[in-house]
Structures are given as C-alpha cells and as structure tokens.
Amino acid sequence: MDDYLNISNKNFKSRLIVGTGKYKNFKECSEAIKASGAQIVTVAVRRVNIFDKKKPLLMDYIDPKKITYLPNTAGCFTSSEALKP
C-alpha cells in the first residue's frame, strides 16, 4: 500500500518539509532540496525590487510545478511586516 501525505487533494510521497533560507545561493538550495527528496519547501514573501530585475529569483531554480511552495512569515512579527520588509 502506498502511504501518502494528502493535503488539499494533493499527494506527497515525502513528509519532509525543508526551508529555503541560509543557503549560499539558489543553486545550492535547489540541489539540497533535490537531494533531500522533499516535495514541499517553505518560502518567505517579499516585495519585488522593481528597479533591479536582474536579481535571480527562487522560482528560476525551484520549479513550483514540481515542488510545492509553503509561504511562511520568516522574520516577521505582524501580518503587515510579512509583506512589507
């Protein structure tokens, strides 16, 4: 029998949820997630820097179609802080 973690009609083989912070760069983060086998990662939500569009984005390295993003409020103490750094 296959044992899945089911959340909102989505089946996850792995119950491991890993963070995406504190890595040296997005490449290292992406490789660590792949090696862990995790299918859910926690992410923070921040304002887009509309004046510096050359900055790499997490979504360029971790495909949200393959890995489920679980937004959290890393480093925030109020709901407004969660969106306004």
Partner: protein, 72 residues
Amino acid sequence: MKKINKVKIKINGRKRSINSKISLKSLLSTNKISLKKVAVEVNEKIINKKMINKIKIKNGDKIEIVHFIGGG
C-alpha cells in the same frame, strides 16, 4: 498638443506618476515583471491574475508586487 493625463500611485511603497487609463497588466509588462512569478495586491486586495487585464489603475492606488524568496 494633446495633454497626457497622469495619475499618482504607490508601487511597493514608492510614489510613481504614470499615464492614466493604463491597465495593471501593462503596468507590469512596462516594468518587465513576469506575471508568472509574482502576486499582485491593489489597495490591499489580492488580484486574480485572470482579471489583471481588466483592472485600470486609478489615482491614489496602492500596488504591492510580491514574490517568493528563500526563507524559513
């Protein structure tokens, strides 16, 4: 000469003056922001991306464009 109407808005906390009658979608494309990678909020309401072309920017609008970053 034809006068171009401008509206004053705030994008991610910064004041901007833009042409009136512009849609939210064209505002994002003008700023080269990929809709696939962001979530957009206008006056504290999250915008359904399917409706983004129909939303016109009005004077005093507060627009927040957010994305996911490594954290947690």
